[in-house]
Amino acid sequence: MRCFIGIDLGSTTTKAVVMDENLQILGRGITNSRSNYDTAAAVSKQEALIDTRLTLFRRGLASVPEVSGKVDEILADLERNFRHVQFLEQLEDLQQTCIANIKGPRFAGREKAVIEALEGTFSRLRDSSAAQYAPGVKRKSDFFRDLAGAEFMSHGEAVCKEAGLGFDLILNVYDKSIIEVENRPPSGDMEGKFVRALEKGTMTGSSILKPVQAALAIPLEETYVVGTGYGRVRLPFPKEHIRSEILCHGLGAHMMYPDTRTVLDIGGQDTKGIQVDPVGIVENFQMNDRCAAGCGRYLGYIADEMNMGLHELGPLAMKSNKQVRINSTCTVFAGAELRDRLALGEKREDILAGLHRAIILRAMSILSRAGGVKDQFTFTGGVAKNEAAVRELRKLIKENYGDVTINIDPDSIYTGALGGATFAVRAVVN
């Protein structure tokens, strides 16, 4: 079948969306943007295609009366097993890479011991991975780097201790190798992995097997790919396959909420205010000026400064009942301002509430610059997940623009890629 793919190469994550020619979303994928943009694009695309297969399975199983009501469970099982197969494959690659990387004077005479330690570690990793992919277990991350990393630390340290070997030796090898593995283009044979996953699973009746195999047999033709995002110029695409993230963002928001007229996106590096017409074409846009004050990164600094996780800031700010007025959204001064306030005896939640308001005030100015807020209004980007920021935004939108429908999609991170995929469809279908 014809697949239309949008890839959004952002500064921290890369997202991909696969669409069919009827503008139906088939799959979505995300990965961390590494130093190698080609790989990030390839991985996110593969993830989206994996998701596409799952959609096809779902469609295939929908007509099987025997599994009625159990499709979700079956697919969850299948994906879990698929991820496990994929994880083991990458683990194998990592092990080989680690062993190949044992060179240099620091390993002289100790190669064998290091290899043994690594083999031991990876063996335990493989064993423990079964538990990570057991039914009902929530994994901490979807990225191989995070999953393998944490486990490697605990098993590696134990193995080395038993062997009387310094952990830093194998850690050094690991650090070097994980970058190599991460930057390697993803291996193919997705279909094969699904077959293996199917075999591992518990639900292998022919009523499942047949439709899944039929779905697997559908060729996924990459008909048209559109790249966008800040790293788009680095994508190995011909120029006509590249669209600005502003355009993609506007169109993506329109696809999620067709009545959208104004879009606000607060990302890590920039804040955008976009006006779109009834078919999702950008009419006007403004971004934060050269000064990146008040972008998502600002919250990142604050989190670091307070020794908190980024996702913990919003909930703490929600506890405030006496907001402190923060006048500077300058990222450079954020730390100093914060310490000044703490020294004055202000409460952390009150300062945080003020900081969230300051960011949203900045966004309000950009919206004002872009021509104000029209109904409906869609808020996207990482900061849209922050409840304290959303609370302030709702308040200020109401004060300044009255009753406006405010859309916030929990999956808004895919907005740009969704717009890209839509452009891909439009490029071919029209």
Partner: protein, 432 residues
């Protein structure tokens, strides 16, 4: 790795020689005994200086030269080290930093100290401080010509009288004293006659931006076209000859349906977007900046920067019949001396008359005279013309303030937006 030399047209070569001769005249003043003045581009009184055989040196142009030679960054940091704020104009800092680094002219010889600072104070507050700062350095006579701002959108008789009076009672006696040459108003008339001739041809060339494809680039190419008239050559025979030559070149391109010549030596014929640009260019990355436009098919058909030294296209000419009055009118009418509503009128008119796709603003950090209020200008021009505007930010000669990725991102977004709007939107289908 050195950059390939930019391909130049005959008029550019001629201008280059004129500029080189002027730098030689400046740096050889001790040998020739000629007096040198420093002065500014807007409100530049070149014809008057010529009446006293004074060579005209323009610190703004020197800063541009330093910017294009990639030397300005070091000069600016030098000035900041000596106490100049990071917040203020980088032309000033490049000029002051250059002094402490030997003050070498583009011809490799040291700039001599000026004999007079001709402070034609038109349209830019910083000019006043700039020459107060230079005065501390050179301790030479400083002649202030205060040109009032056209706050209500027009000049008044009082403003004109005030300027003429300053010319008669401050500037001319001051220049006589510095040069030892007696003022001869007929000499001034002769130079003004030359100015008007050159101005006619400049206007003709600038107006060819209305042709499709445009045979000129009124921004990146425009800075070359305005060179002689805005600097040390207005009123000279050289300038008259230059504009005749330029006119022939432009005429030739019109006849051949050619676009302007890019620095890469190709005619830029495949023009997809026609823009009006407001604000000065960036000089440190001039060619890279220009390339971002022609690579995407964007040609600038009219700009406000080519009006900083006079709005000749709106009818003004130097007038030998009313020499001092016409110098006063000239000073009053420079672009940055116009109030914001007048600037909006002019830009909106350009969008219409040059059939442009929209107004692009290059907002310059250094230049509040241009920049403060540009977002209002954009909003108004968008509202009046119905054409989308765009906003990018750079600086004149501070390389720290040019972010290529950032500028490119915005430009591409803007061009793609124009393209999309032109198609009237894509598929009307919406997601189910």
């Amino acid at each position: 790795m050195s950059k390939p030399e930019a391909v130049k047209e005959a008029s550019m070569e001629m201008q280059k020689k004129m500029i080189a001769r002027n730098y030689d005249a400046i740096t050889s003043k001790h040998e020739t005994g000629r007096k040198v003045s420093s002065t500014f581009v807007p409100g530049n009184l070149n014809e008057l200086l010529m009446c006293f055989d004074i060579v005209n040196n323009l610190p703004e142009i020197n800063a541009i030269q330093a910017g294009m030679r990639k030397a300005s960054g070091g000069y600016i940091m030098e000035a900041e080290k000596s106490g100049h704020s990071e917040d203020v104009c980088t032309y000033v800092k490049a000029d002051i930093g250059q002094m402490s680094k030997g003050n070498i002219a583009p011809n490799g010889k040291p700039y001599p100290n000026p004999d007079v600072l001709m402070l034609s104070y038109t349209g830019c507050y910083t000019f006043m401080k700039w020459f107060e700062l230079l005065r501390e350095e050179y301790k030479c006579p400083t002649l202030m010509l205060h040109v009032p701002y056209e706050g209500d959108g027009h000049s008044t008789k009082n403003m004109r009288d005030y300027i003429v009076k300053q010319l008669k009672e401050v500037v001319i006696p001051g220049l006589e004293q510095v040069s030892g040459v007696k003022f001869d108003i007929d000499r001034l008339r002769q130079y003004l006659r030359n100015s008007a001739k050159a101005e006619d041809n400049l206007v003709w060339c600038l107006e060819q931006g209305k042709v499709t494809p445009s045979p000129i680039d009124a921004y990146f190419g425009g800075v070359y076209y305005i060179g002689p008239i805005f600097t040390a050559f207005r009123g000279t025979d050289d300038a008259v000859a230059y504009y005749e030559m330029l006119r022939k070149e432009v005429q030739g391109r019109v006849e051949n349906h050619q676009g302007p010549l890019t620095p890469e030596g190709t005619y830029f014929n495949d023009q997809k977007y026609r823009l009006i640009v407001e604000g000065p260019p960036n000089w440190t990355n001039f060619r890279e900046f220009w390339k971002m436009f022609y690579d995407e098919g964007a040609v600038v058909v009219a700009s406000s920067y080519t009006k900083v030294g006079g709005l000749y296209d709106q009818g003004f000419r130097h007038d030998p019949e009313n020499p001092l009055e016409s110098l006063a009118d000239y000073c009053l009418g420079c672009y940055t001396n116009l109030n914001l509503p007048t600037r909006v009128d002019l830009l909106a008119k350009y969008v219409e008359e040059y059939q442009a796709d929209g107004l692009l603003i290059n907002s310059i950090k250094s230049c509040n005279s241009f920049s403060a209020g540009q977002l209002m200008i954009m909003k108004e021009v968008e509202r009046r013309t119905g054409k989308p505007g765009a906003f990018i930010e750079t600086d004149l000669v501070d390389p720290r303030y040019f972010s290529a990725a950032n500028v490119k991102n915005r430009l591409e977004s803007y061009f793609q937006m124009i393209e999309q709007k032109r198609r009237g939107g894509g598929s009307k289908t919406v997601a189910a």
